[in-house]
Amino acid sequence: MIRILIVDDEPLARDELAELLAPEADLQIIGQAGNAIEAIAAINRLHPDVVFLDIQMPQISGLQLLAMLDPERMPHIVFVTAFDEFAVQAFEEHAFDYLLKPVEPARLAKTLARLRKERAPQQIDAIGGNAPLTQLPCYGHNRVYLLKVDAVEYALSRLSGVYLVDADGNEHFTELTLKTLEDKTPLLRCHRQHLVNPARIAEIRFGDNGAADIHTVGGLTVPVSRRFLRTVKDALGII
C-alpha cells in the first residue's frame, strides 16, 4: 500500500487528482493540504510515502517547502504544476518525476507504475531542496510570517509542537522539526528538546551535575544537558 498526500492550494485541483487516483486499489490518500504549512505538519505527522506537490502556493512554494522537511524522513516527491517552464526544465535535468496540470491519465499511469516499481532516493539538493534556511515560516493569527534565523535566541520542542523564541521572549509556533532546524540552520543542539543560536550566547554557567545553563544576549536561559555539553563546547571552541 502506497500512502499518498496531496498538496495544492486549489481545492478543485486536489479533488481532481484525488479522483484520478481513487480507482487504484494499492494507493491510499491519507490526506490533503492546501498550503505549505499544512503540508509540513501533515508530512511530519502522517509520514506519507509519496507527496504530490504543487509548486505554486501561497507564501511558501512547493520548491521552498522541500528545504523545510526532515531530510531523513523525506517522502518521495512528485511535482505538479500548471505552468512553470524553469521548474520543469530543472525536473527534466535531474530526472524528477512531475505532472503537468490538467493531469493526463496516461501520464499519471506511467508515474504510478514507476512509483510501484521502485522509489529511488531523489536528488533533492539538485533543485535547491537542501539550501540552508535563513527565514523560518511561523504560523499565527491565521497567517504565515517568516522569522529571520538571526532573530531567534533558541528553539524548543514541546508536546504541542516546536517554538522559536526571539530576544523578547516571544514564542513563535513553527511546523519545522528540531531535526530540520538543526540540519538547515546554524542553530546548535544543546538539549534533547532545545536548540540555541550560537551567535546569541552570552555565557555558559556550569552546574554541579555535569549539566549547564546558557544565558543568551537577550537574557534568556537555555538548558544544556550533559549529553550535549561536549558538542556545545566543541562548537564554541571551548576546551
Binding site: 486549489e10 481545492p11 479522483e19 505552468f83
Partner: protein, 567 residues
C-alpha cells in the same frame, strides 16, 4: 652625304626627345588615363582623338625644315591614335594632322596630308585586325608600335614619290628625309608606347596596393564593431588597422574618451582616459576630417611633450543620421611623412566602421523590438493563467458540466479581450467585462478562498480608458495579493468621482504590495505611463498599502464626457 644624313637623324631625334618629354609630362595628368586601355566608349575615343591630334600637330611643329618641306614626327600621333582608338579615331587624327600640315603649304603639302591620313588608317586597321583576333595584348607592345610606324613611314615616302611633283624634287627630298624620319618615328612611337605602359604599370601598382590593403582591412574588420562600439571591439579594430596600414599608431575614441590605442606612444595614450586633443574635439564638433601634417598645421601630443608622434589624421565615425559617435585617429612619428595612401585608406576605413556601428545599433533595436513583442504576446497568452484555468475547467466538468460550459465562455471572452492592442481605447463597461471574465475563472479556481465585490455606479460605465488598464491591476491583486494568503482573499472594486477625476479603486485584503524596480511588462507601471501619456500627469496609478491588511491601487482617470481628443 652620309655625314649629312647622320646629322639629320640626330637632329630629328633631338626634336623627338622634346616631343617625348611633353608626352611624359602629359602622361602624369588624368588626360592619359583613357589611353591606357583599348577605347570603346565615345568619351574615351574623343579623348584619344584630342590627345593624338595634338601630338600629330606638335610633330609637325617640332619638325626640321629641309628645302621647302618638313622632316617631322607627325606619324607618331597618327599611328598611335589609330592603334589605340581604332580606324575611326585613326582617320580623324590623320585628317586633323594632315589638314594642319596642308595649311602650312609647300610642294609636299598634298602628299603629306594624304600620307598622314594613310598613317592613321594603317594604325586603325592594325587595331581592328588585332581586336578581331583577340590579341589586344600585342597592341600594347612597343615592338609592334615601332613596326607599324616604320611601315607607315615607308608608305609615306612612297606616297611623296607618287604624289609630289616634280618627281626629281620629290626623289631628292625622300633621299634626304627618309632615314631620319624612319628612324625617329619608329623609335618615337615605340617609346611613346613605353611611356604609356610605364604609366599604366604605376597606376595599377598603386591601385592594386590600395585595393588589396583596403580589402584586407575590410575582410579582417568585418563585423568587428557590429556587436557593440566598445573598448574591446575597438581594440581589435585598431590593431587590424595598425597592422595593415603600417602607420605609427592608431587610436579609436568615442565622443568622450579613448577606447583603443595601438602603436607608438601607447605608454601614455591610455584607453579609458578622456580625450585631450583639440583636433579630436574639432573633428567631433564639426563632423569633418581633420589632418594635422605637422608642417602647415602643427601637431603636438596633448599628453606628453616628448611624444614621438608628429602628425595625425582624425576622421569622425558616424552613427544614425550622420551624428558623430566617435573618431578614428591615425598617427605618424615625427621622422615619417603621412602617405596619401594612408589618408585615403583612413577615410575609407572610417566609412566602413561607421556602417558597422550603424548596423549594430539597428540589430540591437530590432532585438529590443522583438523582445517587447514577445513580452506582449506572452502577456496576451498569459500561459500561467491559461493552464490553471484549463485545469480548473477540467475538474469542474466532472461535477458541473453547465458551470464548465460557462467557464469556457468566460475564458474565450477573456482571450478575445486580451488580443486587443494596448493602444486601443475602450469604455469602462468593456474593461469590466474583461475583468469579470477573468474573475469568474479565478473564483472557480480558488473556490471559497476568494471573494469578490464589484460596486461601480452605472453612470461611470461610459468613461473611456486605455484597454488593459483595469484587468492587469485586478490580476496583480490576485496573483501577488490574495493568492498569497493562507486564509480567504477579498477583492473589492469600487469608484468615486472627485470633480473631473474618476478614481477606480482595486482593493485586496493581503497588503503584500512591494514596489518592484522597473516593474513588469504590462503591469502597473505601464498602465500608469499609458494613462499619463493619454490624459496628462494629473492622472495615472497610485498605490496605498497597509502592510498585511490591505493594498489599494487607485486608477485616476479624467471624467470627461467628450472622448473626441483620443488618438
Amino acid at each position: 652625304m652620309i655625314f649629312d644624313q647622320f646629322n639629320l637623324v640626330l637632329l630629328l631625334l633631338q626634336q623627338m626627345c622634346v616631343y617625348l618629354v611633353i608626352a611624359y609630362l602629359l602622361s602624369k595628368t588624368p588626360l592619359f588615363i583613357p589611353l591606357m586601355q583599348v577605347t570603346i566608349r565615345l568619351p574615351h575615343k574623343l579623348a584619344c582623338y584630342l590627345v593624338f591630334s595634338t601630338f600629330c600637330i606638335l610633330g609637325t611643329y617640332f619638325g626640321l625644315h629641309i628645302d621647302d618641306s618638313i622632316a617631322n614626327t607627325r606619324a607618331i600621333g597618327a599611328v598611335l591614335g589609330g592603334l589605340l582608338g581604332g580606324p575611326s579615331v585613326g582617320l580623324a587624327v590623320g585628317f586633323t594632322g594632315g589638314l594642319h600640315r596642308y595649311s602650312l603649304g609647300g610642294p609636299t603639302a598634298t602628299a603629306c596630308m594624304i600620307s598622314t591620313v594613310t598613317e592613321g588608317l594603317i594604325g586603325g586597321l592594325v587595331h581592328r585586325w588585332l581586336i578581331r583576333r583577340g590579341r589586344v595584348d600585342i597592341l600594347f607592345t612597343p615592338w609592334l608600335v615601332g613596326g607599324v610606324a616604320l611601315f607607315a613611314e615607308v608608305m609615306q615616302m612612297l606616297i611623296i614619290l607618287a604624289v609630289a611633283r616634280p618627281f626629281a624634287m620629290a626623289a631628292q627630298l625622300v633621299e634626304h628625309i627618309a632615314l631620319p624620319m624612319l628612324v625617329s618615328n619608329t623609335i618615337g612611337s615605340a617609346m611613346f608606347m613605353r611611356i604609356l605602359l610605364d604609366r599604366r604599370a604605376m597606376f595599377e601598382k598603386y591601385s592594386t596596393a590600395f585595393s588589396s590593403r583596403a580589402l584586407k582591412i575590410a575582410a579582417r574588420a568585418e563585423g568587428a564593431l557590429r556587436d557593440g562600439f566598445n573598448q574591446e571591439n575597438s581594440t581589435k579594430v585598431a590593431r587590424i588597422i595598425y597592422e595593415e596600414t603600417g602607420v605609427g599608431a592608431v587610436a579609436i575614441t568615442d565622443r568622450d574618451k579613448l577606447l583603443a590605442f595601438i602603436g607608438i606612444g601607447d605608454d601614455h595614450h591610455l584607453p579609458g582616459t578622456p580625450i585631450t586633443s583639440a583636433y579630436t574635439f574639432e573633428a567631433i564638433a564639426r563632423n569633418e576630417v581633420v589632418f594635422a601634417d605637422g608642417n602647415a598645421m602643427p601637431y603636438r601630443c596633448s599628453i606628453r611633450p616628448g611624444c614621438p608622434l608628429g602628425s595625425t589624421l582624425v576622421i569622425p565615425l558616424q552613427g544614425e543620421g550622420d551624428r558623430v559617435v566617435g573618431t578614428i585617429k591615425l598617427y605618424e612619428p615625427k621622422r615619417k611623412l603621412f602617405s596619401r595612401l594612408n589618408r585615403t585608406l583612413g577615410e575609407g576605413i572610417a566609412k566602413l566602421l561607421s556602417r558597422q556601428i550603424l548596423a549594430g545599433r539597428v540589430d540591437a533595436q530590432q532585438q529590443l523590438l522583438a523582445q517587447s513583442e514577445i513580452k506582449l504576446l506572452h502577456a496576451q497568452v498569459n500561459p500561467h493563467f491559461l493552464f490553471n484555468a484549463l485545469n480548473t475547467i477540467s475538474a469542474v466538468i466532472r461535477r458541473d458540466p453547465d458551470h464548465a460550459r460557462r467557464l469556457i465562455q468566460y475564458l474565450s471572452t477573456f482571450f478575445r479581450k486580451n488580443l486587443k492592442r494596448p493602444s486601443d481605447v475602450v469604455t469602462l463597461a468593456d474593461e469590466l467585462e474583461h475583468v469579470n471574465a477573468y474573475l469568474q475563472i479565478e473564483l472557480a479556481r480558488f473556490a471559497g478562498r476568494l471573494d469578490v465585490a464589484i460596486d461601480l455606479p452605472e453612470r461611470f460605465l461610459g468613461v473611456q480608458l486605455p484597454a488593459f488598464s483595469l484587468q492587469p491591476i485586478v490580476e496583480n491583486a490576485i496573483k501577488h495579493g490574495t493568492s498569497q494568503l493562507l486564509g480567504a482573499g477579498r477583492i473589492r472594486i469600487h469608484a468615486h468621482a472627485d470633480g473631473d477625476v474618476l478614481s477606480l479603486v482595486v482593493e485586496d485584503n493581503a497588503g503584500l504590495y512591494h514596489p518592484k524596480p522597473g516593474g513588469d511588462g504590462l503591469g502597473m507601471n505601464l498602465v500608469d505611463r499609458r494613462i499619463k501619456v493619454r490624459d496628462g500627469t494629473r492622472f495615472g496609478v497610485r498605490v496605498e498599502c497597509e502592510p498585511d491588511v490591505a493594498t489599494r491601487v487607485i486608477l485616476q482617470l479624467p471624467l470627461a464626457t467628450q472622448p473626441e481628443h483620443t488618438t
